[in-house]
Symmetry: C2
Subunit: 384 residues, 2 copies
């Protein structure tokens, strides 16, 4: 079976890009990835969640492919809410592995800042169940708040302990030139920030931003023909889902789909959680990160928040989690996040990530989530 | 390389399903396909265009997978406007061929009739370019009307000649139990029907409908373990795109992406247009069918409408085109159409399509389109 290499990555700094269209952003990220690889893709996979609602533009595969100068190429869009990016990489991986394509460009693009907040949050809520959750007035943050409240009560964890996650994320993002928020915060700042949906506060929540990220996946054969052979490959890929409706889940403090996706990726790569040097995980809210740390095998059930507060998972520790600053501070242009993660982990393994760096990292993990635990995608990346 | 077989198909009769939700429809089609195959899928690919706008539901992979009893399975949604179904089959094909999955269920589902027509047509128009076409007041039908007018003028084809397509489609649909419209029409009826966007009339246009279709793709190894080995496989798959904006195209009477996609599929299958016994092609409007017939190699440039009017492509001829009644009369729940086509061609090759049948058909073609020629997907199916 052909190995699938990551031959190029490109990212746009996340922020408010009033002057740039969906196409401008996609092109900027794609051109960086293609320039780095020095290769044209056979297929384009676009990942995006919100364009149907916000830009009122569908048919995004052809739209983006043509718009970035790749007219004619096979192109399609993959959507899995905030997990669209990871799902797109999973799809592209299968296309290269199948031999259907020698090279596939994955471009995640999302433009969220040109619209009233109410429009954006109602579009984002479409990751939840329209009929059984949203119809009854639940907001997406509200659903995550149920999980956070339950976790804190069940495991006797206080506000300050939970706050270590966003504090670490803001610290990590300080030196990441692609990060949306580069500002140090304290646990006190988190505790005093505005309540969004109790107990979730503003500083538990990822910001709204525009962004684009791209990665070029290539086959073993295509990689061998490049002037510089790529040094990072996808060693394992896993995906799993769960019911979208939270009330049907096994437990409010569990994300079984994360465990299943990670186990698939670990198994395929022949590694375990103890082998992971660096991971980028999905922390749209503080509670997401805490639960994922447990499901991915980095902490025992109920212990993640306490371990974090004691200094685990910070730069210098293995695994280092979210050296980018994560969704919380690097930013979370929803449909792109899974692609940012792959680009970041690739750069960590290559040793050229321009922020907090995990020296000598050989094995990395990227975990992207759609909804509040309904769609999970995990990729294990390794250095050759 | 593993062959990819079609182990089961399921279709819901297209129509106004007021009493059935998106999930109900998806389940009905999926259960038929799974029952036929007697196998659980490893992965679920959902194809849909409009749920983001109409049902305000994203994250459709997890939503549908859980909702139809396949909780936990990897699942994602593929979108390529009206070409979503074909793009989803293309994706699923790559997943099986890659060895990532032994079996992938593709479920196309779309619910369009619960909404005001203006809402549905504005959502459908998102297949066109929001910024350079829709913003200036163009409608999706209007853009197709430009192509039809140009074709008729350039090739000196009159209204009555064009009308043979919808007349044949209504005739073919008469005996298809899944068809939305089973009513005979005449060329006169077409000419006298309401103008939608001159020269496109109501009877040139596919109807709005609810529907769902499913196909189960399996690997060679999985197929061998089934009680009854599937007799139809995907021999070739092709995809190509073009600029979404019509004014940037090469010509108004050409769909080069169709030619490219078909050539890829023919080449992979080792066949040519002359080998195709039966084809289901994308006729959202009469002009789409006429142009596709030429691009797929069934008629010389500018000759398709005249050949049709002379009786070519009717039942009994090779290839027989759209024995189902096509988008025009079988119906066009947009994101599902490409999956209906694969199910129909599979049944033609198995000899159990419950409508107009192409006896002894060994090689079939399915061609699905997104936008007015911007995303094209072609699959060649063969009988073992």
């Amino acid at each position: 079976m052909t190995r699938v290499y990551i031959a190029g990555v490109g990212m746009v700094p996340i922020g408010r890009h009033y002057g740039k269209s969906l196409l401008d952003l996609a092109a900027e990220a794609a051109f960086k990835a293609l320039d780095e690889a020095g290769l044209e893709p056979d297929v384009v996979v676009v990942t995006n969640m919100l364009a149907s609602r916000l830009q009122e533009q569908d048919n995004l595969g052809a739209y983006i492919a043509s718009g970035i100068g790749l007219r004619g190429k096979p192109a399609l869009r993959v959507e899995a809410a905030c997990g669209s990016g990871g799902a797109g990489v999973y799809t592209a991986y299968s296309m290269v592995r199948s031999g259907l394509a020698r090279s596939v460009l994955v471009v995640g693009v999302e433009k969220m800042t040109d619209y009233p907040t109410s429009t954006v949050t109602s579009a984002l809520a479409q990751a939840a169940d329209a009929e059984y959750e949203l119809f009854y007035g639940a907001s997406f943050t509200g659903l995550n708040a149920l999980m956070m409240r339950y976790y804190m009560e069940r495991h006797n964890v206080d506000r300050d302990t939970m706050s270590e996650w966003p504090v670490m994320m803001h610290e990590n993002a300080l030196s990441n030139p692609y990060a949306q928020i580069r500002r140090r915060i304290t646990r006190e700042d988190v505790a005093r920030s505005q309540v969004v949906a109790d107990p979730i506060r503003l500083l538990d929540s990822s910001p709204i931003g525009d962004g684009a990220a791209a990665v070029l996946l290539v086959s073993e054969e295509a990689a061998a023909e490049l002037p510089e052979k790529p040094s990072v490959y996808i060693a394992g890929a896993g995906m799993a889902t769960d019911t979208v409706e939270l009330s049907n889940r096994e437990a409010l403090d569990r994300i079984p789909a994360a465990r299943a996706a990670a186990e698939q990726a670990y198994r395929m790569a022949g590694v375990g959680p103890g082998d992971i040097d660096v991971a980028e995980i999905h922390d749209a809210f503080t509670i997401n990160a805490v639960l994922l740390i447990e499901e991915l095998g980095f902490a025992p059930y109920g212990e993640a928040a306490r371990l974090l507060a004691e200094g685990r998972f910070h730069p210098g520790d293995r695994p280092t989690l979210n050296p980018s600053g994560g969704l919380k501070a690097r930013g979370h242009p929803v449909g792109t996040t899974g692609v940012y993660q792959i680009a970041e982990v690739t750069m960590q393994l290559r040793g050229d990530f321009p922020g907090v760096r995990v020296d000598g990292a050989e094995t990395g993990l990227a975990v992207n989530m759609g909804g509040d635990g309904s769609t999970l995608i995990a990729h294990v990346l390794r250095r050759v």
